[in-house]
């Protein structure tokens, strides 16, 4: 079980994240976890779709949403997925510095996205959409807020990894950890694409 030994250029297997049994377990277990997360978000989307017109006299999506703002947010998050892909490409090439750098870029983009989201919620609140205003408000904040909570968790997770492993180099222990964190990050992005469509585009246009 040489899982904690740093691997040099010559012995690094082509897929370090799946080279050990522990890595394979993490990899597979994480895909299952994402399966569960899919149901979690599907339930929230279903709830939102059921309640999205129940504004009870309060403001609705068409009154509040600004497509330009949400479009910028979407671009930021999609770019962060791209930077995390670069991170994994660097991992495959055993360029640890590159991996760390692109992961930090991902963190920065994630934080920027969160900043926009806080601003967005703050704006809506001041335009009369509190969490308790209507069933629409509750379901909107819960769906988008749960996504935001996932982004926050993902950022904290990646920062923990970056700090913990800043000096160790790529090992068979941390390769699966970076890999699953990136999987999680892609998942968050995919969920956002659905939010962009179902909540914002449908809210403004439909």
């Amino acid at each position: 079980m040489a899982t904690n030994e740093a691997v040099d250029q010559h012995t690094l297997p082509p897929n370090p994240e799946k080279a050990t049994l522990e890595g394979r377990n993490k990899y597979l277990g994480f895909w299952f976890f994402l399966g569960g997360e899919t149901v979690l978000f599907a339930s929230l989307f279903g709830t939102y779709l059921g309640l999205r017109n129940s504004t009870a006299g309060g403001p609705g999506g068409a009154d509040l949403f600004h497509l330009d703002l949400v479009f910028i947010m979407t671009m930021i998050l999609l770019t962060s997925s791209l930077t995390s892909v670069f991170a994994i490409i660097n991992m495959r090439r055993n360029n640890y510095k590159g991996l760390l750098m692109w992961m930090w870029a991902t963190v920065l983009l994630g934080l920027t996205f969160l900043g926009f989201e806080v601003y967005e919620f703050y704006e809506y609140y001041h335009q009369g959409l509190g969490f308790t205003t209507s069933a629409f408000a509750s379901s909107f904040y819960t769906l988008v807020g749960t996504h935001g909570a996932h982004v926050t968790f993902g950022v904290l997770w990646i920062i923990t990894l970056l700090v913990r492993y800043r000096k160790t180099g790529l090992t068979l222990t941390n390769a699966p950890k970076f890999y699953t964190a990136v999987l999680y990050w892609h998942f968050i992005d995919v969920v956002w694409v659905f939010i962009f469509t179902v909540v914002y585009l449908l809210g403004i246009g439909g």
């Binding site: 149901v39 308790t132 509750s138 819960t142």
Partner: protein, 610 residues
Amino acid sequence: MSNAKAQPKSVLWDWLTTVDHKKIGIMYMVAGLFFFALGGLEAILMRIQLMFPEFSFLGYQTYNEVLTMHGTTMIFLAAMPLLFGFMNFIVPLQIGARDVAFPFLNSLGFWLFLFGGLLLNVSWFTGGAPDAAWTAYVPLSSDSPGHGVDYYVLGLQVSGAGTLIGGINFLVTIINMRAPGMSMMRMPLFTWSTFVTSMLILFAFPALTIGLLLLMLDRIFGGAFFDVAAGGNVVIWQHLFWIFGHPEVYILILPAFGMFSEIIATFAKKRLFGYSAMVFATLIIGFLGFMVWAHHMFTVGMGPVANAIFAVATMAIAVPTGIKIFNWLLTLWGGRIKFTVANLFALAFIPSFTMGGVTGVMLATSAANYQFHDTYFVVAHFHYVIIGGVVFGIFAGMFYWWPKMFGYRLDETLGKIFFWLFLIGFHLTFFVQHFLGLMGMPRRVASFLDGQGLNEMNLISTIGAFMMGVAFIILVITLIVSRKNTDNVDDPWDGRTLEWATPSPVPEYNFAQTPLVRELDALWHEKYEGDGKMKAAEPLDDIHMPNGSILPIFISLGLTVASFGLIYSTHVITVIGLLITFGAMFVRSIKEDHGYHIPVSEIKRGKGER
């Protein structure tokens, strides 16, 4: 690096920090039996209240609380943990694995379940348990005064997280950790049913998570999901609850099916009839389990098209289930049947469960459902399937696997007394409830009126419940007095599957050498085609083991503290609780832990003792 030997530990510390799937399995069993006794006591209290018309034993409010806690306890805190106990202990052995895929998460799953269960029951002492039934329909639950339903929402949330973690662990264990030669189509049926059950857990529990989240947001943070005046919709709760709740009944019954398959094959001394048909039937039941949740909502007003679709989908489940019943019967056909207690429960299961299945098809007829809905007919139906299926399965599994798990055989004579008393008590209690229901007695109501022809059958039902209570006491006595039966515990039933190839008690590394699997019913094959021992798939070598950890308790404790903060809207405490949880998670993620190795010399000594 990690060649350090395990530190000697005190017994208590060992159990609190263990990541050994066998010890976790035993802890699930003990906790499950405790909650089973509690849920049974609640059932007896209800039956005393309903013994006579307009009886005043429990107040109406207390009755509602006892009713709610009986259902919640039995499903979440008794049946599932008992099944999880077997899965944890048996499945890694059956697939020839040294360990589960995620030992740490496995322990976390157990402690989350236990803390969630305790949290639910704390409500008894803090001003009233939840009172909106285990289904917690809104607005009954959203408007329920006091904190009872808050305990329900948070207790189940914590406990449910543990279940989800356990499910993922089993899935990965079964896919990645099988011994060489153990192809999917050589897996014992109990492992197969654990696999499908874990799939169901994975896709069903997140819907409950969201349902509970929405209810919590409504009750504690003033959300408007179920507040009709603010545009909310109460039917959303029913959909979310049953998208979880219907698969849940298959989460309970499929492992029991798996156990019966093992037990019937062992005690009929025959290979299971139609193995591949059994596997596919299990998969189909698992799939259809997700397609039928709305049959709990026929009277909501979904319209005839939706009702018809869900009715037909529901009835379709009878087909794979019927395949299984016939396969069990054909396994018995021509077998040399041994009537051990384990097998008696398996044999009694077949007719009892079939009766429950038949009333299930009746209930699935959506037109007739308008008549049956919310009467004792429904109560009779689901107790026939859950007791006649799941509980019989748990008892059969206990008598079957007890020697492997605890190192002693349960007394057969006492066991038979227990079996007959429980069987008769069960049918006495619930058979008459079909007729009570058809005569219009509503469920969930604390009393009934005199002179409506309901008196005698209610009395009979209560007598049956008492018989089951006495039977349970005999079971507990059996568990205690059987401790001297420690001879012949390695393979007492002439077993067919890999768990019987290990010594009892099982060493912490399970198999000194990973076994090589050459056939379905691996051990049986070696007994008849080989030399009676499993072939080794690897040379004897040091074995890598994970270290124990106390962190799962801290993670669970933090969530429990946070739950109290939420229940009493004291958000400082919520934050403290979450800090404990995330702090423990942080410690876990920055601390590198490579476990330890058991040296060959020690393994050889372990083999010599046998």
